[in-house]
C-alpha cells in the first residue's frame, strides 16, 4: 500500500534522508527505530507531505505523493491535492497538538466537520464512538488542559481515526509522556494493530516494538541500516550499529 | 530638469534647515528622557507601597496621564502656567509635558518588570538566607532589568516621536521646520517625506542600539 523508493531529502546543504526505500502492505505494522537525527520523523512527515522531498518517490496505493514525474520532470502537487491525500493518512504527534480552545469531542469532530462537511450531529456520534474506543467517553466535554498527557494523546488518536484513514502514522507518540501513562496509549495502538490498521510507528519503546511490529526497520544517519522480522532484528543476531542503539536505549533488553 | 532632479536639488537646499530642526528634536528628547526615567523611578516606590492611599494616588496619576492626550497636557502647561504667573519657555513646557506623561508610563513598565520575576525567585533567595533588601538587589533587580529593557526601549522611541507635538506650541523642532518650509515656499509632500526619513533614521538607529544593548546585557546575566 505504501511504497517508498530512494527517498531523498535535504535541508539546504544538510542531507537528512539519503535514499530510503521500503514498502508497507495493507494491514502490516512497521516499526521504525533509530537514534535522534536519523531522519525517521522526517521520513514520516514526507509520507503525508507535511514536508517536501527532493528525490525518489512515495506512492500510496499507487498514487504518487507530493510530486508527479511527467515528461517535463518533477511537478509539485498543489496544496489542494496534498490536502486530499492527507485525509487518507492519519498522523499522531509526539506533542499531541490538540486544539486547546476546543473540547475533546470537538477536537475529534474537527476533521469530519470541517474537511468532509459531515453534519455536526452525525460527526458527534462518530466522535463519541471513537472516544469510547480509546477509553475516554467520560472526558468528551473536557478541554485538553484538564486531561493528562496519556488522555490527550488518546484523544489525538481518536481525532486522527475520525477521518477513517487508510494508514496511521505515529511519530514518537509516547516520548513526551510520563512512564505510567505510556501503557494506556500503547494499548490503544495495539488494539488498532489487531483490527488490521496499516501503521508506521516511530518509537523508542523497544518492548512494544517487538510486541506489535510485523516488521522492524532500523534507520541511522538518513538510511535504512537493517530491516526484518522483530525476532531476528532484536535478537543478538544484528549489526553493530543496531546493537549500540539497543544498548543505549534499553540497556537490559538484549540481556532479557 | 525633470521632477526627480528638481526635487533632489530642492531638498538638498533645505537640508541645513531640516538638520537644525532635527537637532532640536534630539535636544528635546535628550532633555525629556532622563527626566521621564527619573520620574518613573521616583513614582515606583509609591506605586508599590503598602499604604493604600499612597498607591491609589499614584495609580490615579498614571490613569490621568494614560487617558488624556499629551497634546492637551502640553497646552495646559503652556497656556495655563502664565495664568498662574509662570512664564516658562516653549521648550521647557514641551519637555515638562513629555516627561510628566512618559514618567507615568515608565513606572508601569518598571513595575511590570519587577512583578514578573516570579514569587519563587524571591522565596529561593530568602531560603538561602538573604534578607529582603539583598534579595531585591542581587536577585530581583538584575533579572527585572533584563525584562524591562525591551519595553523601555520601545517606550523611549515613542517618547522621541512624541516630541513632534511641541511643534504645536511653536518649538522649531523637525516637524515644525517642515511645516514652515512648506508655508514659505512652493514645496509640498516631498518636505514631509524628508522629515519622515529623518525620524525613521533616528528611530531605527535607536531601535537597533537598544536591541544590541539587550543582547549584551543578556550575555552578562
Amino acid at each position: 500500500m505504501i511504497d517508498v523508493r530512494d527517498l531523498r531529502k535535504s535541508y539546504g546543504t544538510l542531507d537528512v534522508l539519503k535514499g530510503v526505500s521500503f514498502g508497507v502492505a495493507k494491514g502490516v505494522v512497521v516499526v521504525v527505530l533509530g537514534p535522534s537525527g536519523s531522519g525517521k520523523s522526517t521520513m514520516l512527515r514526507c509520507i503525508n507531505q507535511l514536508e517536501d522531498y527532493q528525490g525518489g518517490e512515495i506512492r500510496i496505493d499507487g498514487v504518487p505523493v507530493g510530486y508527479s514525474t511527467g515528461a517535463q520532470g518533477r511537478n509539485a502537487h498543489s496544496e489542494a491535492v496534498n490536502a486530499r491525500l492527507r485525509e487518507q493518512v492519519g498522523m499522531v504527534f509526539q506533542s499531541f497538538n490538540l486544539f486547546p480552545h476546543r473540547t475533546a469531542i470537538d477536537n475529534v469532530m474537527m476533521g469530519p466537520v470541517h474537511v468532509r462537511g459531515v453534519a455536526k450531529a452525525e460527526a458527534r456520534d462518530l466522535a463519541r464512538a471513537l472516544l469510547a474506543k480509546v477509553g475516554l467517553s467520560e472526558k468528551a466535554d473536557q478541554y485538553p488542559a484538564k486531561l493528562s498527557g496519556g488522555q490527550q494523546q488518546r484523544v489525538a488518536i481518536a481525532r486522527a481515526l475520525a477521518m477513517q484513514p487508510k494508514v496511521m502514522l505515529f511519530d514518537e507518540v509516547t516520548s513526551a509522556l510520563d512512564p505510567e501513562l505510556v501503557g494506556e496509549v500503547l494499548r490503544v495502538i495495539r488494539q488498532l494493530a489487531q483490527e488490521g490498521m496499516t501503521m508506521i510507528i516511530v518509537t523508542h519503546e523497544i518492548h512494544f516494538a517487538r510486541d506489535v511490529a510485523d516488521r522492524i526497520i532500523f534507520m541511522d544517519d538518513g538510511v535504512i541500516v537493517e530491516e526484518g522480522a522483530p525476532e531476528r532484528i532484536l535478537s543478538g543476531a544484528s549489526g553493530a550499529r543496531l546493537r549500540l542503539f539497543l544498548r543505549r536505549y534499553q540497556g537490559d533488553y538484549l540481556a532479557s | 530638469m525633470d521632477y526627480a532632479a528638481q526635487t533632489a536639488v530642492f531638498l538638498l537646499a533645505q537640508f541645513p534647515k531640516l538638520l537644525a530642526g532635527f537637532l532640536i528634536t534630539v535636544g528635546i528628547s535628550a532633555a525629556a528622557i532622563p527626566l521621564a526615567l527619573a520620574l518613573g523611578l521616583a513614582l515606583l516606590a509609591p506605586r508599590m507601597a503598602k499604604s493604600r492611599p499612597v498607591r491609589s494616588a499614584t495609580v490615579g496619576y498614571v490613569d490621568l496621564m494614560r487617558n488624556t492626550p499629551l497634546l492637551v497636557q502640553i497646552y495646559l502647561i503652556y497656556f495655563g502656567l502664565p495664568v498662574l504667573g509662570f512664564f516658562p519657555s516653549e521648550f521647557t513646557c514641551g519637555v515638562a509635558g513629555i516627561a510628566l506623561q512618559h514618567g507615568a508610563f515608565l513606572v508601569e513598565t518598571y513595575r511590570a518588570g519587577i512583578e514578573s520575576i516570579s514569587e519563587r525567585q524571591r522565596e529561593a533567595a530568602r531560603a538561602i538566607g538573604m534578607n529582603r533588601f539583598t534579595a531585591f538587589r542581587l536577585v530581583i533587580l538584575p533579572q527585572a532589568m533584563m525584562r524591562i529593557l525591551g519595553p523601555l526601549g520601545n517606550q523611549l522611541i515613542v517618547l522621541i516621536k512624541d516630541t513632534s507635538l511641541v511643534s504645536a506650541i511653536g518649538v522649531a523642532e523637525l516637524t515644525m521646520t517642515g511645516k514652515v518650509i512648506i508655508e514659505r515656499s512652493a514645496a509640498s509632500v516631498e518636505i514631509f517625506v524628508a522629515v519622515a526619513l529623518f525620524y525613521l533614521v533616528l528611530t531605527s538607529v535607536l531601535g537597533a542600539a537598544f536591541r544590541l544593548i539587550e543582547h549584551r546585557v543578556a550575555e552578562r546575566i
Binding site: F93, H101, V115 | N67, L71, V83, K161, T163, S204
Partner: protein, 215 residues
C-alpha cells in the same frame, strides 16, 4: 471659578462629538485594515510579507503627526481636493493599521506550529485552519494589545487639531484664544477626554488580566 468652562461647554461638547465620530471611524477602519494586513503577512507569499513588514517598519518609526501632515499635503499634491477630515482621517487609519498589523501578525505566529501540523494532517486547508484553529486563539491573545492601540488612536485624534482639523482640542484652543481662561478650559477638556478614554482603558486592563490565564 469654572464659569468660562461652563459657559462654553456646549461648544466643547460639539467638539467632543466630532472627536467621537473620528475615533470610531479611525479605530474601526484602522483595525480592519491592520488585521487584514497582519493576516496577509502570515501567508507564504514573499511579496506580501515584505510589503507588510516594510509598511509596519516605516509607519511605526515616524510620528503620527508627520503622517497626518503627509495626508494633508498629499492629496492636493496629486491635484485632488479632499475633505480635511477624510485626508487626516485616512492618515490616522493607515497609521493605526501598522500597529494592528504587527499585533495581529505576532498573535497568529504565536500559535504553536504543531497545531497547524495537526490540522494539516487531518486534511484541513489554509482557510479552514485560519478560521477554526488560528483566529479563535489569536483573537484572545490580541484583544488586550488591540484595545490599547485603540486607546492610543483615540487620544491621537487630538493631534489632528495641529493640522487644522476641527475637533475637541481645536475647539478648546479657539475658546482659550478668545477668553484666555486656559486653565479651566484645558482641565475641562482633559476631563472630557478622560470620560471618553477611561472605559477603553478599563476594558484593556480587564482583558489583560482575564485573558492571560487560559491555555
Amino acid at each position: 471659578m469654572f464659569n468660562v468652562l461652563l459657559g462654553n461647554l456646549p461648544y466643547l461638547l460639539q467638539g467632543a462629538l466630532v472627536t467621537l465620530w473620528l475615533s470610531v471611524a479611525v479605530v474601526g477602519l484602522g483595525t480592519l485594515l491592520g488585521v487584514g494586513m497582519g493576516i496577509l503577512a502570515t501567508t507564504r507569499s514573499r511579496v506580501a510579507q515584505t510589503v507588510v513588514t516594510g509598511y509596519i517598519f516605516v509607519l511605526r518609526g515616524i510620528p503620527v503627526l508627520v503622517v497626518m501632515f503627509l495626508g494633508y499635503y498629499a492629496f492636493p499634491a496629486f491635484g485632488l481636493r479632499v475633505n480635511i477630515y477624510v485626508a487626516v482621517g485616512l492618515a490616522q487609519i493607515v497609521y493605526l493599521g501598522a500597529f494592528v498589523a504587527e499585533i495581529t501578525r505576532s498573535a497568529i505566529l504565536s500559535i504553536p506550529a504543531g497545531q497547524i501540523a495537526a490540522a494539516r494532517s487531518l486534511g484541513m486547508r489554509r482557510p479552514a485552519i485560519l478560521r477554526q484553529v488560528i483566529l479563535p486563539q489569536a483573537t484572545r491573545i490580541a484583544i488586550a494589545p488591540l484595545l490599547n492601540s485603540a486607546l492610543t488612536a483615540v487620544k491621537q485624534t487630538s493631534y489632528a487639531s495641529v493640522v487644522g482639523v476641527w475637533e475637541l482640542t481645536y475647539a478648546a484652543r479657539e475658546i482659550v484664544e478668545r477668553t484666555l481662561a486656559a486653565f479651566q478650559i484645558f482641565i475641562g477638556v482633559m476631563a472630557i477626554y478622560f470620560l471618553i478614554c477611561y472605559p477603553l482603558s478599563l476594558a484593556a486592563r480587564w482583558s489583560e488580566n482575564r485573558l492571560s490565564f487560559s491555555h
